[in-house]
């Protein structure tokens, strides 16, 4: 497993570190920025890496990341590790809030224990794509939908790959920790709700669904 770490940051950072690539972008444009990068570089990446890992400035991998990942590195599909989500307290100190991507390990949420499926993906309970290990062929096959702003591009993407039968096993280890705007504080609630339902409706597990662009937000 050879991983390229892509770090999304609002600031411009020069790319000089090996196996790490910084992309300057804002939250609402992440999908477009990532698509642009993959479109331009996919062939080069395919020669050098097997997986990409999308990170956000503020999220860091744990010190023993590779050691923890190693036993799971043979698993097929998008690997979903646990992320320790922190927030800043009133004094500006990082405080642990919750572990994310844990629902695959909870009883009764998935058909196969420890494996993401469409029903769970649809619920969007505690999923974040940040830190997931995505095989290059999957990212090439399923580009992000740019119409889904903010973090909803991740939700829609997960629903879509689950809908089309890709596998996404969980890794029950904390591989990442950090802060990011999971709550999307600056986005109006009605917009969040609209995007949420749009992403859910498009690839719900209801049979005979008509997949059209009609449900996408204008």
């Amino acid at each position: 497993m050879k991983i390229l770490r892509i770090i999304l940051t609002p600031e411009k950072i020069e790319n000089i570190v090996e196996d790490v690539y910084y992309i300057q972008t804002q939250l609402q444009n992440e999908a477009a920025s990532l698509n642009k990068f993959f479109k331009e570089n996919i062939n080069i990446l395919k020669g050098k890496y097997t997986h990409i890992q999308i990170l956000k400035a503020g999220i860091e991998t744990v010190d023993n990341f590779l050691e923890l990942l190693l036993p799971y590195s043979d698993k097929k599909g998008v690997l979903i590790p646990i992320l320790q989500y922190n927030e800043l307290d009133e004094e500006g100190k990082e405080q642990f809030v919750v572990f994310m991507n844990t629902t695959v390990w909870k009883q009764g949420y998935t058909e196969e224990y420890g494996e993401m499926d469409l029903a769970l993906a649809n619920l969007q309970l505690d999923f974040t794509l940040y830190g997931c290990l995505i095989p290059l062929e999957i990212i090439e096959k399923y580009p992000f939908k740019e119409k889904f702003e903010y973090l909803f591009y991740q939700f829609e993407w997960l629903n879509r790959i689950m809908f089309f039968g890709e596998s996404a096993p969980g890794i029950p280890k904390v591989l990442l920790k950090g802060i990011f705007d999971y709550r999307m504080k600056d986005v109006p609630n009605d917009k969040k709700v609209k995007l949420f339902y749009a992403a859910q409706k498009l690839f719900s597990n209801v049979e005979d669904i008509d997949i059209t662009d009609d449900v996408l937000p204008k």
């Binding site: 744990v62 023993n64 923890l68 036993p71 698993k75 390990w105 029950p172």
Partner: protein, 405 residues
Amino acid sequence: MKINKKKKSIFEEVFVNKTKTEWDPEKQKEYKLQKIESFFEELADKSNRIFFYCPDIPFAVGTVKIIYETVYMLRNSGYNAILLHEIKGYNPEWLTVEWKKELPKEFLSEKKKNKYTTPELKFKPTDTIVVPDGFWTVMKAFEKVKPVQKVVYALGYAGLSTTEPGFNWGSFGFNTVICLNQTIMEDYKSLWPELTYKTVTHWLDKDLYQPVEDITDIYPAIALNVRDKKKAIEIINIFTSRYPFLSMFQFKILKKLSLEDYINVLKHCCLHVLIDEDLGAPLPPLESVALKIPILTVFGRGYETIAVQDEKQQVKFLDDKDSFVVAEQIAEFCLGYLSNPTLRLEDNQWVLDLYSKEKAQGLLLEVFDYLQEEKIKTFVAIKNAVEEGKIKEDNLTPEKIENIN
């Protein structure tokens, strides 16, 4: 349970009824000696029966498992061990291993149209009856069945409250006690030193207790092995309310599972929590080590031996069984599990070596060879007494013959 006292054993038929006939004394003597010779033959080829009383417990429980495995081991070693159940038809479905089906069973009663009847089960002088400790009422019921050899199989069952005041197992003719481990033996010996004690050992079948090879098959799940259901619920409630961020850790309650399911569930869990101070033998900690699953437990009977044998101190003992403390220690372990590649136990070889089936079978055979020898000695004494004419027709009772040695 009913013991049909009206029916006479073959022994009584031979030595009591027949001797009261008008037979010639020499013929009687010859007949007795012939009968005794047939007993010797039985004992020599080990075809004499060894009945293991086994309670009809419908769900998975260690007592039934141990008794079945003991019977299986003895049969494999040439002894005619037979399971003795209460009611005809009992079959421990949860004991899903194949060999269970081949074990012969006898029943003390049979249910016909809502009435219990006693089947034709007669005991012979060459028979041995083995009853687990804790079933003193059963021992009492066998009091009149003489002169079979009677043995207690001390599994540490339900502590020491095993007879009514003023009695011990010897009062019912159960003078020999086979103890499953040294601690059980010491406990009983301190109480009733006049009985004869032999120690065997518990064992783990290494073919069944195979740890998972791939550590990715160990899941964030806690195997909870708690005797008191309320306690189990309390621990789960405290854990989930105090540590909601660890809700991904599932609790698997190890109760009423078939043996295979028990092992399958346990070997995929990341932690085994055992809170059972009434456990007769410390089998679950050994099972855990054999499967390389970390264990947190309270100190129970027989654990001293494990604590010494476990040089790397892999079995962790809880300081306090208070549910808050237990939940806290589970949470601490869970956090460790999330940030460590593996918290599996490294060394399970000492358990597999010390508690191997071969070793246990060796000890078990030593004990039953001893019992067989004792029985032969009794019959030699009877034979000598008959030959010397010491046994008279008018004073011949099974009790006297039993004490002739």
